[in-house]
């Protein structure tokens, strides 16, 4: 990279009296470390050109020197990196779109060591080897060489800019918007449409990717509307629209995607043009606009001429040169050549000539171009070479001459130039129309695809609809605006004078045909030449999609805005088929590349995904709890004390629960209140268990299946009254269980009088488990008798606690100890928890986390759905057959359970596993085999679902799913690990208090 100098270049190519930036503030910026001067209102491109700089990039494959092709978003060549600071580096920015700000720092890409001397350019010399798809034909020997040798080098050479390496500090925003009429493009037709639609008072949104409205009026010097020059009229029109509160005008806003039912995605660049953006202001804003009607006024894009060496810096589109002159006041050269196939080159030549630029010659492939413009050019003394073509150019880092020849060949003449303008005609921008699933149609006489059959409520107007003259453009736009709001508005803008053009050519120009072996570029960025496309066809590529993929034509960052039709025409020529028969490649979103950040917008950092915390979370944090993620919830995992690691903390917690008591935050469990006269009937259908006979005030462990018979969820259910159940679900299962229940209630059992309400977050749940649990709660409950006699295991009572806090008190246990679960309204959760904690301290209780909870339940063989079951396990497999109501004739899953494979022998069944060495703790997920000596692949007969060190048992304990496990009690099986085989003995999944006496102990 060139070293930084502070020398300021003079803006050598600004033309006094031209453009609209006269008197704007001067700005300084650097490109590859070199300091330059520009003015407010410049793009990076216009500012560099004002300094006479054309060389700005290197091509993708051959690393050929490249300059500016365009003055807009279709730019394939002039891609640079913009560096605001170490973290704000943006690769692949189009210099023709990037607005200049003071201190802007730009660097060129894809070159080493420098833009002027790029080692990669050897590819250019070797280019005959690097023909289309060459990499499919080689790099195959020896076998591993591709991945080890060739691919890394190809990757190094490929790519353009450098990806940022630090997190993006900028913020982005989003807005869902609705309107009656969305107008895409604020050129003459879009503005006319907006003026008409706005009159009605309906909601109108007008967007344009440029900083100002006006579209082609930016460079059309000939236009005059309502007695003002076109540009001035456009700004006035915008002002009048902005004054209305029913109209929103969004500039610097690109409509990038047209989605279903008139949903259009826009991205607004809010601060990219500012030198010192306020960091709280979003960099970009994504708009998702739902419009009743869409008016597409997207304009047209000029095509280049396809001829030998048409890619040298200084060779650009006619409309670009004209924009630089008429808008930015910059002459792209001092001695300019022109190569055209249509009229639109002439006004450019005329404008430049009048601005004092010498026009070396106009080369027009048409035999006798004749129009007022042609005559005017002649009268200005511009040399016109009709019926001729350009067969080549010279100049290493800047074009220095063009070679002119008769189309039929013959003597060639080298014309010295320092810039070359070209135009082969205009391509209507049907991108969004096509994205809307509209079908384009080929218009033979004008060689272009135009909107054909519409799929959504939208309409194309102006140049993107094939209108060639300014008045036709304004007429279409205005009429569409009127129709969109179903009104007739009188004040249609009057076009006094405007330019008209059409026609042109597609494909390679004479002199670059199949017989010549030259580099006539079709796709500049991807270095696709006319001969690459011919070769693709010769190799059997018949579909344009094949040609595109084989040559990569149109797959660069400009997505083929200037190259697609040329490529199509060349393919059609070789195939000798009409263009529409070869097809048109699909237009896909986005129209121009869209920043990931703006699509993500608010969903970063803490807003990436909600973090759900229980009412007791703060207390748990203060106690130094370590948390684990369970779905979106943060759950206290364990509470390490000074010097304790996880292992020690969990051992202590487990011990404490069984010796005195522990308290546990169970608030995340899902809870559903089921109310109505048919509540019990509904429960009978949704759970395998019988419910009809469950008395009010009692609880039961319930299992829910999917229709296929596999376990879906489980939980303890309390019956509060005949018509009211309090159902609990797993933490992760809560939402889907609710949906599953609603589904059956609404669509299969609508006759039942019952309603479901989620109460998960209404109640904070404090589990108090252990021999001392009753003593602790005794003094806190206000009006509930919790003696064993009055409130046996698996019962529920409603009352108050801690002086009036309503509670639903469950007597239940997930530890095998005497236990309670105190439900209180969430806002009181923390206070009641603290009260229980204070009382508990008298009994040396501890708070325990989810890990200890897991160990304690495993000691008792209680399953965790999702850990000991995995969506392929039936109640029978899990040893829960007892929970299926044998007399029931229907419940969800009853039929799935009897399918052949679910009743076949050899199913995996949940058993306990004791390691031969009690100190060895198995790894969860470890696989179980019968014969550890068998060769790989081994026959696996099961795996470990749960495994822990149990301090209470003084040994490791585990559960696993094992083929025919119930029949293997006492058998020795093997768990082959990388570092040796572990012997395990199959046992009942019950390791502590086998008789279950402690529930009342």
């Amino acid at each position: 990279m060139a070293t930084t100098t502070t020398k300021r270049f003079a803006a050598t190519h600004r033309v006094a009296g031209k453009g609209r930036l006269a008197g704007s503030a001067a700005l300084g910026f650097t490109f590859d470390g070199q300091t330059y001067a520009g003015v407010q209102g410049d793009t990076l491109a216009s500012a560099l050109l004002a300094n006479g700089v054309h060389l700005v990039g290197r091509s993708f494959k051959y690393h050929r020197p490249r300059g500016f092709l365009s003055a807009g978003p279709e730019e394939p060549n002039a891609l640079v990196g913009i560096h605001r600071d170490a973290a704000r580096k943006t690769p692949n920015v189009r210099a023709t779109v990037q607005e200049l700000y003071d201190g802007l720092t730009a660097v060129s890409q894809n070159r080493w060591p420098s833009l002027a001397y790029d080692v990669g350019a050897v590819n250019n010399i070797g280019s005959p080897m690097f023909s289309a798809g060459f990499y499919y034909k080689t790099f195959m020997w020896p076998k591993d060489a591709w991945a080890k040798i060739y691919e890394p080098r190809i990757r190094e050479a490929a790519g353009l800019g450098v990806a940022p390496e630090r997190p993006d500090p900028d913020t982005y925003a989003q807005r869902f918007a609705h309107c009656d009429v969305l107008i895409v493009g604020a050129g003459p037709s879009g503005l006319a449409a907006a003026l008409a639609a706005a009159e009605s008072g309906q909601r109108v949104i007008l967007c344009d990717e440029q900083p100002d409205v006006g579209g082609a009026l930016r460079y059309e010097s000939g236009a005059s509307i309502e007695g003002q020059d076109g540009w001035t009229w456009a700004q006035a029109a915008a002002a009048s629209l902005l004054a209305r509160d029913n109209v929103r005008v969004l500039t610097r806003t690109t409509a990038f995607g047209y989605y279903a039912q008139n949903m259009v995605g826009l991205v607004e660049r809010v601060t990219e043009h500012l030198a010192h953006p306020d960091l709280t202001t979003p960099r970009e804003r994504l708009w998702q606009v739902r419009a009743k009607k869409v008016i597409l006024a997207a304009g047209a894009i000029e095509r280049h001429m396809v001829f030998a060496d048409n890619d040298r810096p200084g060779i650009m589109l006619v409309s670009a040169a004209r924009t630089y002159l008429n808008h930015y006041g910059v002459a792209v050269g001092r001695n300019v050549g022109v190569f055209t196939a249509n009229d639109s080159a002439y006004p450019a030549a005329i404008d430049l000539k009048k601005a004092g630029v010498n026009i070396a010659a106009i080369v027009d492939i048409r035999d006798n171009p004749s129009s007022a413009l042609v005559e005017e050019a002649r009268s200005l003394g511009i040399e016109i070479n009709a019926g001729r073509t350009v067969t080549g150019t010279d100049g290493r880092l800047r074009v220095s001459s063009m070679t002119v020849q008769a189309k039929s060949g013959g003597p060639a003449r080298k014309v010295p130039i320092d810039a070359l303008l070209m135009s082969s005609g205009w391509t209507p921008s049907v991108h969004l129309f096509s994205q809307s699933r509209g079908k384009v149609a080929f218009d033979e006489p004008t060689l272009r695809f135009l909107p054909g059959i519409y799929a959504q409520d939208c309409i194309s107007v102006g140049a993107c609809n094939g209108a060639d003259s300014l008045d036709a453009t304004v007429d279409e736009g205005f009429a569409a605006g009127e129709k969109a709001v179903r009104a007739t508005i009188s004040a249609k803008p009057k076009v006094d004078k405007g330019e008209t053009w059409g026609g042109g050519m597609l494909g390679a120009s004479p002199g670059s045909g199949p017989e010549q072996i030259v580099k006539a570029f079709v796709d500049f960025q991807n270095d696709v030449t006319a001969k690459d496309i011919r070769q693709a066809v010769r190799e059997g590529m018949r579909s344009i999609e094949h040609v595109k993929r084989f040559t990569t034509n149109g797959m660069a960052t400009d997505q083929g805005k200037t190259s697609n039709l040329h490529g199509l025409a060349i393919a059609a020529e070789v195939l000798d088929k009409p263009i529409p028969a070869v097809g048109l490649t699909t237009f896909r979103a986005p129209y121009t590349p869209v920043t990931f950040g703006s699509i993500v917008n608010h969903a970063k950092g803490e807003l990436f995904d909600p973090t759900r915390r229980t009412p007791m979370h703060g207390w748990e944090e203060q106690q130094g709890a370590v948390f684990e993620d369970v779905g979106q919830w943060k759950r206290a995992w364990y509470y390490p004390r000074k010097g304790e690691d996880m292992h020690a903390a969990v051992n202590r917690e487990c011990k404490t629960v069984r010796t005195s008591a522990g308290i546990f935050d169970a608030s995340t469990l899902g809870k559903i209140e089921i109310v109505g006269p048919d509540a019990a009937k509904f429960m009978e259908l949704l759970y395998t268990n019988p419910w009809a006979k469950l008395e009010a005030g009692r609880c039961r462990y319930g299992i829910m299946l999917r229709e296929d018979g596999f376990i879906y969820d489980d939980g303890v259910v309390g019956r509060l009254s005949d018509h009211r159940f309090h159902v609990t679900t797993t933490t992760g299962g809560a939402p889907r269980v609710m949906h599953h229940m609603e589904d059956y209630l609404q669509t299969e059992f609508p006759h039942l009088d019952v309603w479901l309400t989620s109460i998960t977050e209404q109640w904070a749940v404090i589990a108090v488990q252990g021999p001392k649990s009753r003593d602790i709660l005794q003094s806190l409950v206000d009006n509930i008798d919790i003696s064993d006699a009055a409130m046996p295991h698996m019962s529920v009572r409603e009352g108050t606690i801690c002086g009036g806090v309503p509670t639903r008190l469950f007597r239940m246990s997930f530890t095998g100890e005497r236990g309670f679960e105190v439900n209180v309204p969430a806002d009181y959760g923390r206070a009641v928890w603290e009260a229980i904690w204070e009382e508990g301290k008298k009994h040396d209780v501890c708070a325990y986390g989810t890990e200890a909870m897991h160990v304690l339940r495993a000691e008792k063989g209680y399953i965790i759905v999702g850990q000991d079951t995995d969506g392929t396990v039936t109640p029978g497999d899990a040893g829960l057959d007892w929970a299926i109501g044998k007399k029931k004739s229907d419940f969800v899953g009853i039929r799935g359970l009897t399918r052949p494979d679910l009743v076949a022998p050899g199913r995996r069944q949940l058993v306990g596993l004791r390691t031969k060495d009690p100190k060895t703790v198995l790894e969860e997920g470890a696989q179980i085999v019968d014969d550890p000596k068998q060769p790989i692949p081994m026959k696996m007969i099961g795996f470990v679902t749960s495994s822990y060190w149990s301090e209470n048992c003084g040994r490791s304990i585990a559960m696993g799913l094992v083929e025919g496990g119930f029949g293997r009690m006492g058998e020795t099986l093997h768990v082959p690990m990388p570092d040796g085989v572990i012997e395990v003995e199959v046992c009942k999944p019950l390791f502590f208090d086998e008789k279950g006496e402690r529930l009342n102990g």
Partner: protein, 127 residues
């Protein structure tokens, strides 16, 4: 993002508020325990998956919470009809379509903009 007319809320709402519920009109047998393996397979696994008119269930899960049915063209994703759960499968959905929605194809002529006079060779944009 689709725009879906909820027959209970009686207006079009964004797809983000809805959850698709799969094929509609697959009734669960009143005596499911007695179904044959084949019948159960047909009920639980086999789906029409048509390229064309799809009869499907939606739930306005983040709206009114109701399940309802819709007829949609799976090629264009256009909704042709929505109706409440329990209502019979509409006989001829092509008749009396919902009044003009954002999906409607409005020929340019009706929008009082002339299609350029030249006759155009229609080509599928999705080549």
């Amino acid at each position: 993002m689709l725009l879906i007319h909820c027959p209970y809320c009686q207006e079009e709402r964004p797809e983000l508020e809805f959850r698709n519920g799969g094929e509609a009109h697959i009734a669960r047998s009143r005596d499911i325990a007695a179904e044959s393996d084949e019948a159960f397979e047909a009920f639980f696994f086999i789906r029409t998956n048509p390229k064309g008119l799809v009869y499907e269930r939606w739930r306005h899960i983040h709206g009114c919470g109701r399940f309802f049915n819709a007829v949609r063209d799976s090629v264009t994703d256009k909704f042709l009809r929505v109706y409440k759960a329990g209502e019979p499968k509409p006989a001829d959905v092509m008749k009396n379509l919902p009044e003009h929605s954002a999906w409607e194809n409005i020929p340019p002529a009706d929008q009082n903009v002339e299609t350029p006079a030249r006759d155009r060779v229609s080509t599928d944009g999705e080549a």
